[in-house]
Point group: C2
Chain length 337, copies 2
């Protein structure tokens, strides 16, 4: 099955580029409600695993032991943009553990937030490991390792107990043993398991409504819902579709990006999970496709759509500041509605 | 006709992302020798028009009048990376015309060359119009306007005589009246005409072997061949597939990128032109696809392929510096060989 046309990029009304993809909508019982393209195809969820990877630090009791607040639990499941608030959150948390930057396994990375990146360079500094979008997840895994009295070294290697615990949680949520699928290495050094897209959708549906899961896990997930709804800017950052979706819908829709065109969303009240992959891995197409699906599901009010319009139908401006084109959902989404 | 699978991005050997596209190989008589996907589909060549846009400054006599050297003629057809050599070339040329940055219609842009961009910001400076990858093309059009005693104002607007002259040249080379197709505005403010992909291939074939064109135009094109072969780093920059292809093959293959996944190549000795468009507009896939086509055509020696291996099959490294994946031509290219 070929990927389906999801998103078009136009210039003065004529299509210039096209983004294809696959997507699935699941419920928390594991049923497929809607699908587009080949949902059995393997995807690497990459950072879209972070909501599930954040469960460990809560479920293990580490978050209570170290009195993590909502900002820290949000950072645990974040691909943050390296804004000052994120750096402050990560550094103070790490210091409270008695650890420092050298304990982080991720490499140094320029903040994704361009003003912060420019300011950093203009002040003569180099990016460091704190700036890496995954640094919150790394501190969370270190927190869990400390709490469980496991070594803090090599916490990012697949053989470490905190990683094995995490793979168990991911397998439980996705209703498949992900150790049976290929495993790569992520940008930050973490194991990067692959799974069929449909299982990622199921995992997000069970994250949306965890009532089928063991009590301790369900409680941990509800704690994460609460944290990210309270501190959505810590999950990604200003201007990001993830933070703005959570913010605008007051947590009725939770979302998380993954590298290479992955985007997932959870609708806790409806017990629905959505997983989509833009085949070419481009980031610009995924919010447009997700918002088209959310619109199809009737999940957004007119007011919410208005507030999210920059993600639904982004404008393209040129170096002179002129609007020269747009990114829009393909016509098929409109017809389906 | 759907786009064809051209390029795969893998992680630890498993496909993570896919790039689809269309491509055509034409000869200088206008015949299609090979094609993949829908070659009648409109594309915006964007900066891939620059080799043709550079013809005007030479054919009009402006380049002789202002004694342009090979570096300047290369810059006229360049999407340069904003390296110090490019900035020096553009600023000194503009000064020789008695003009300055305010005469450039393009907006300010950070240099594409990352070390230069970082250095610029670290020194507390802001990017300016010189840094825009199109600034050489802009100076070339200003040079032509001065030579022809046309106004220097609004030289980037479609109604200006130098633009109309340029559209004539592009129509001649592509064997189609491009004013009949949709026209957008480019990133730098220039008119951005669309045309069927096949016509872009024909234009590049006629650029490769201009013997069917009027003498003055053919001479101008051969002058451009000579300039870019002598100064390939001025057409793009260090590490770019365009500069390295020209350099490694000593001008047996000339190439030019366009925004949104366009890449064209000319083989002057064989009178062949190649045009390809990656449907999703991603830049990482186009060199891999072009080099697969060049290999199919037997256009590269083993030694040339060795020197170009970073473009044929790029490695993906993570923030720790580990190689975690690769970009490779889809299997279909291998089967076709």
């Amino acid at each position: 099955m070929s990927p389906e046309l999801f998103v078009e990029v136009t210039r003065n009304g004529t299509v210039e580029s096209q983004h294809f993809g696959a997507a699935v909508v699941c419920d928390f019982k594991g049923a497929v409600l809607e699908s587009w393209g080949d949902i059995e195809k393997l995807v690497f969820p990459r950072s879209a695993l972070k909501p599930f990877q954040a469960i460990g630090v809560v479920e293990s009791g580490a978050s209570d032991r170290y009195a993590l607040g909502n900002a820290e639990i949000s950072l645990a499941s974040a691909s943050h943009r390296g804004e000052p608030m994120h750096l402050e959150g990560v550094t103070s948390w790490l210091a409270r553990l008695g650890l420092n930057q050298d304990h982080l396994a991720c490499g140094a990375e320029l903040p994704e937030d361009e003003p912060t990146a420019r300011q950093l360079l203009a002040s003569g500094q180099e990016p460091c490991r704190y700036h890496h979008n995954c640094s919150g997840k790394h501190v969370a895994f270190l927190t869990t390792a400390l709490h469980l009295k496991e070594p803090v070294a090599n916490y990012h290697q697949v053989g470490h107990p905190v990683q094995q615990m995490s793979l168990d949680v991911i397998s439980d949520l996705s209703q498949t043993e992900i150790r049976n699928y290929p495993m790569g290495i992520d940008g930050c050094g973490f194991p990067a398991p692959a799974m069929p897209l449909v299982n990622l959708g199921i995992a997000m549906a069970r994250f949306a409504n965890p009532s089928e899961l063991p009590d301790s896990r369900a409680r941990a997930i509800r704690r994460i819902h609460e944290a990210v709804t309270d501190k959505p800017l810590y999950v990604a950052g200003h201007g990001s579709v993830v933070s703005e979706l959570i913010q605008v819908t007051s947590g009725a829709i939770l979302a998380k990006t993954g590298a290479e065109g992955v985007l997932i969303a959870a609708l806790p009240r409806r017990g629905i999970g959505i997983a989509l992959k833009i085949a070419d891995g481009n980031a610009r197409a995924r919010p447009v496709a997700l918002l088209a699906i959310l619109d199809l599901l009737g999940a957004l009010s007119a007011q919410e759509k208005h507030r999210l319009r920059a993600h639904i139908n982004p404008e393209i401006t040129n170096s002179q500041g002129l609007v020269v084109g747009e990114i829009r959902p393909a016509a098929s989404w409109m017809e389906a509605r």
